[in-house]
Amino acid sequence: MDQKTLDTKEIKTAPTPEPPSQAATKLVVSSSPHFLNNESVPKIMHNVVTALLPATAASVYFFGWRALLLIIVCVASCLLTEYAFQKKRNKPIKIYDGSAIITGMLLAMTLPAGFPIFGAVLGSVFAIGVGKQLFGGLGFNIFNPALLGRAFLMATYPVLTTTWVWPRTMEKAVDAVTAATPLAMAKFEGKLDVPLMDMILGNTAGSLGETSAIAIILGGLYLRYKGYINWKLPLGYLGTIAAFSAIFWLSDPTKYPSPLFHLFAGGAMLGAWFMVTDMVTSPVTSLGQWIFVIVAGILAVVIRLFGGLPEGVMYSILFMNAFVPLLNKHTRPKVFGEARAQKV
């Protein structure tokens, strides 16, 4: 892999149209200027869809056909909303570029398996309509549309979005009707003894695609292999979560969950591989990316440990999304001689 971090030279050469060959796809990094180049969009997007397939398969395995139904409903509503907006605004119809499919899949991944269909439709319409099209469509949205849709559902249906079901694979072992996620158990009941292996495989209660860490990592590695994501973003985010939570864990292991727990519980994996790395809503520059992932990682742990909610990944990423334009502006590498000129 010959992917490099962006430096001044690359930024300056980037707008030159590259031939759509293998080499071109390898060079695409998380940068909005590349992204507006329409030729590569469908290709990237379809690869992201491929990368989400293991997590989709895992969700169907653990939560049954109901999971697949939710994913299909979300994808279909996202596509329809996108189509309706583009039609109404007299823009070229570009629903085949796959970006709406990804938003739909990611949104479904963050929902509990028992989530009602009308809620899934509402969240999808909000994600694409308000989260993306109102900002001007793909490439102009400030926030990750799927996460925005999820945040809207969280505020709209606070009970339904936190009513979990046990995976089919462990149904008989548990007597309670309503399930609790490992994070909720840790936060509200002080139970830290969920087997780590269950969380890695996905054999716990939680959102469709968030539970199986291994399936998400598989997809993430595929994207990395294809060269679509910068290693800095997911690993920086996960590393910060691990390091920051380790401080608390070392101070009192009986009270605070371990760093491994934090990595494999909740949406940390899904957020790190598929949402932090969103090309439109993450910073372009190297320094900006470091700031983005480190602050987001700290925020996620702070919310999990001290906030009112058991899970903080969603808000940590959305919060940092808002700073991306600012980060891009202030961490931009200086053009040669620019600094001196500004001093006058």
């Binding site: 009602p116 009308f118 809207f152 505020a155 709209t156 249906y157």
Partner: protein
């Protein structure tokens, strides 16, 4: 004259509709409109202060020297707001409780001082009355509309009467602050869309003539 009064009254209902066209008085528009009753009550309290204070200001506009007019207006407005606040607390304790600090905050509602500066201090009582009634009713309607939309979506009811059956899962977000911004943004867009359609139609009519 009567024509003029009609114009002064009507402009507050659409052309200068406070929250959506002038984007003024947003604090109460966003903060208390989580139900239709609250929106209406807030609008009533505001129109009371707006109407009486501007009439008073119009009355004394020649006796007050311009250097001290702002403190004088503020004292008049603050007095009336306190009267409204005490009245609500004494007679409608439930509404007073749910509006909380937003009744005293009418003092800083820019519609009131804005109308005083822009209109009442330059005009006699009758046009001032028409102006403030128009703006005030526009404000009441806007707040009640906001409250109605948010109450229907957030509680499934309107003025406390259940409207939507149990099949409807209320959108909690609509009664939270975020819902206020969503509904407000939607209504501003709607108002802009209608008025741009109007201008287009007027332009077309002018062309065909």
């Amino acid at each position: 004259m009567a024509n003029n009064l009609g114009y002064e009254f009507k402009k507050g209902l659409w052309q200068e509709l406070p929250p959506f066209r002038l984007v003024l008085g947003l604090c109460p528009t966003l903060a208390v409109t989580n139900s239709a009753v609250n929106g209406l009550a807030m609008g009533m309290a505001t129109i009371f202060v707006l109407f009486t204070s501007n009439i008073l200001i119009s009355l004394v506009r020649r006796t007050i020297s311009s250097q001290v007019r702002i403190p004088a207006y503020v004292v008049i407005i603050a007095t009336l707001v306190t009267v409204a606040d005490l009245f609500l607390a004494a007679v409608f304790p439930a509404i007073s409780k749910s509006l909380g600090p937003y009744i005293p905050l009418i003092v800083v509602n820019c519609i009131i001082l804005g109308r005083a500066e822009a209109f009442a201090q330059k005009n006699s009582i009758l046009p001032t009355a028409a102006d403030t009634l128009g703006i005030g009713i526009g404000f009441i309607l806007s707040l009640t509309l906001m409250g109605t939309i948010r109450e229907i979506l957030g509680f499934g009811s309107i003025f406390g009467v259940k409207l939507l059956g149990s099949w409807f899962e209320p959108w909690i977000v609509m009664i939270l602050p975020a819902g206020a911004f969503l509904v407000f943004g939607g209504l501003v867009a709607l108002v802009n869309w209608i008025s741009s359609r109007k201008t287009e139609k007027a332009a077309e009519a002018a062309m065909s003539r």
